[in-house]
């Protein structure tokens, strides 16, 4: 089974946790979104001009 078939073909794999049932594909996407959210908060944004920062504005 190729890695692509997890999201593209076949019946899919599911994770069962109590009343919660979710496909591995959906769980992976949610995980990636949470990771993106955290990265967006901690990764510094590139700035070009320090003078802008001193004026309280950024381009």
């Amino acid at each position: 089974m190729s890695a692509l078939s997890i999201v593209a073909e076949g019946p899919g794999k599911y994770v069962n946790w109590g009343v919660i049932q979710i496909s591995v594909a959906n769980l992976t996407i949610i995980g990636v979104m949470i990771l993106l959210f955290i990265l967006a908060l901690v990764v510094p944004f590139p700035t070009h001009d320090e003078q802008d920062d001193q004026e309280g504005h950024s381009r």
Partner: protein, 215 residues
Amino acid sequence: MTTRAGELSPDEKKDPKNWTNRLRGRLEGLVPPGQALPDRQPVYVASWIYVFGVLTLTSLVVVIASGCVLSLGGVEWWHVTSLGHYTNSVHLWSVELTFGFMVIHLWGKFWMAAWRGKRAMTWMSGVLLFAISIGTSFTGFLSQSNFDSQWIAGQAKDGLNSVGIGAFFNVLNPGQMLLYHVVILPLVVGLLTLIHIILVRRHGVVPPLDADLEG
């Protein structure tokens, strides 16, 4: 009295009975001067979390453009040609990206309480836009013209009928669902997006919580 072709006299510009004048005044007052397309932002906007709103908007543009291309070929085209199949995939994955970026945008705005500073309407228009977008994607799933769309319609009909929606929104009618998907709902999403962006430009980008406390 017109002073020159295309130029109004000062009296005509102020005439409140002229609906064109009133409309022009309203359009000019939608956003503060220079804020429609600003090239500078407050320094706190220099964070990746502020990028997800515009990422949602750009992926929505791809959704609409690929949807327009799909509509040229008809409702079976994307099943029987390689170009149609490719365009269908572009449409699907741009929708996936739109929703992914929209939800991260929502998380960011929720945790910075983006409704502060008279921005309640901005927040509510975003919530409404999110809900209507889900409905738009749902009608897209119903318009695939394959067994998947039939199965989804069969699963959805009982729930919608039980609350009376089925009387005017029949998921078993693929023609009606397709027209909802390509005409009515995109118009609503487009209008709400425009309102949302105008409100953001009108009130400015919300500052972080600590910046608000200091200010």
